[in-house]
């Protein structure tokens, strides 16, 4: 009976008589041709033989309800699967948005705190000025303090200098798109090492104060990268990277451009199309850098020099 049923199921396709030529491929052929469940044909054949046409009342009702329930189950299954997938993608989206909001919020907070710290520093400086301005020794100490503070980048400074601008080669997507994704790094992208190179070149050329994208560099500043984002003192900066250096403008420019880092950047520009520009500035205003946290060191007792 099984072969009879199989033949019924294969009605329309080629009749199988004897051994087939493609017997070794029977699995694939079965998949392609034997698509209807054989049990349908078997049950039909049994029913046709067993009892006369026209089923009884009882099974008739059951016959209508069970398939409907089955179909309903299929629908619920499909709907649940679709809802699941949608849920997952919307959850991802929501999470990303939440994180972005949090990053923006924290950045604002941190900016506000930095401003507050600068205000307080100014207050302290003003109070100190008043206290030291009373006599000659105090005034001398105050001047010395101001000079040291400027050199240590704890006060804002102003003066002539040069502005070096570094930018990614045109054609690459802006770093803002996915700076932390890590994927392949386009060749024409400015790396943290390039910014370091410029800063070191400027120091070597005689710069007295340097800031990257408005962030003053101190003796303890670090320029690093996370993913593809360049970090200055752990705060991300974005291209174009503007490096300002205060110093003797003409001397600074000549020595920087002719120095090793200037030559290296000129090479990078001609090789990869990185944007590199050096300009003199009459007056630059550099903000104060963060006060370094002294963890282990403390002022030597009694030592004023």
């Amino acid at each position: 009976m099984r072969t009879a049923a199989a033949q019924t199921a294969q009605a329309g396709s080629e009749a199988s008589s004897g051994r087939r030529v493609d017997a070794s491929m029977s699995l694939l052929v079965d998949v392609m041709t034997d698509t209807l469940d054989r049990s349908y044909a078997e049950r039909a054949a049994r029913a046709g033989r067993g009892r006369p046409a026209g089923p009884a009342r009882g099974p008739r009702r059951r016959q209508r309800a069970a398939p409907l329930l089955g179909i309903l189950a299929v629908g619920v299954l499909t709907g649940t699967a679709v809802a699941q997938v949608r849920d997952r993608s919307s959850a991802d989206q929501g999470l990303r948005g939440e994180l972005a909001t949090e990053v923006a919020q924290r950045t604002r907070d941190s900016d506000a705190l930095a401003r507050r710290a600068a205000e307080l520093r100014d207050d302290v400086a003003a109070v100190r000025e008043r206290a030291l301005g009373a006599d000659a020794a105090g005034r001398a100490a105050s001047e010395r303090l101001a000079a040291l503070a400027a050199a240590a980048a704890t006060t804002a400074v102003r003066g002539p200098g040069v502005v070096v601008t570094l930018d990614d080669a045109p054609g690459d997507d802006p770093v803002g798109a996915q700076p932390l994704s890590g994927g392949t790094v386009p060749e024409g992208r400015v790396r943290d090492a390039d910014v370091q190179d410029v800063v070191n070149g400027l120091w070597a050329a005689g710069a007295e104060a340097v800031a990257v994208d408005g962030q003053r560099l101190t003796a303890l500043s670090a320029i690093r990268s996370a993913g593809e984002a360049v970090l200055v003192d752990l705060r991300p900066v974005s291209p174009p990277y503007v490096v300002e250096a205060v110093g003797d403008a003409s001397r600074l420019e000549v020595r920087f451009v002719d120095g090793p880092s200037g030559r290296r950047l000129t090479t990078l520009t001609s090789l990869y199309g990185i944007g590199f520009d050096v300009a003199r500035a009459e007056q630059l205003d550099l903000p104060a850098g963060g006060t370094p946290d002294l963890r282990a060191a403390s002022p030597a007792p009694g030592g004023s020099s």
Partner: protein, 110 residues
């Protein structure tokens, strides 16, 4: 007509109620849907050929879903879950397409 309605009602129910699926079963849901669809297309074809049987439909529906899930589960345990899911989808997809073609031939005689 009524079965089609039942299908739509089922989809809406699933979308609206969003039944919680245990996390362990989630990967098998799409496979289960494909397997169930195969059973449905088989049933429709059998109906058109006049050999539909409710018991066969329900049994084939349940067993299709279970076996498909089991195969993928086994694949997951063996580290080839993705490939086996693809295999299940391909085989069931072929069946769905040829059953749909048979249905089309019956309905439109073309």
């Amino acid at each position: 007509m009524i079965p089609a309605l039942a299908l739509v009602v089922g989809v809406v129910l699933g979308l609206v109620l969003e039944p919680t699926v245990p996390a362990a079963l989630q990967p098998y849901l799409p496979i289960a849907v494909v397997a169930a669809l195969d059973a449905v297309f088989g049933a429709v074809r059998a109906q058109l050929e006049g050999i539909f049987d409710d018991k066969v439909f329900v049994v084939s529906f349940v067993s299709n879903v279970l076996v498909a899930g089991l195969v993928v589960f086994l694949g997951d345990q063996l580290g080839v879950g993705g490939q086996l899911s693809t295999g299940v989808v391909v085989v069931l997809g072929i069946r769905i397409f040829s059953n749909a073609a048979a249905i089309r031939r019956r309905v439109f005689s073309a």
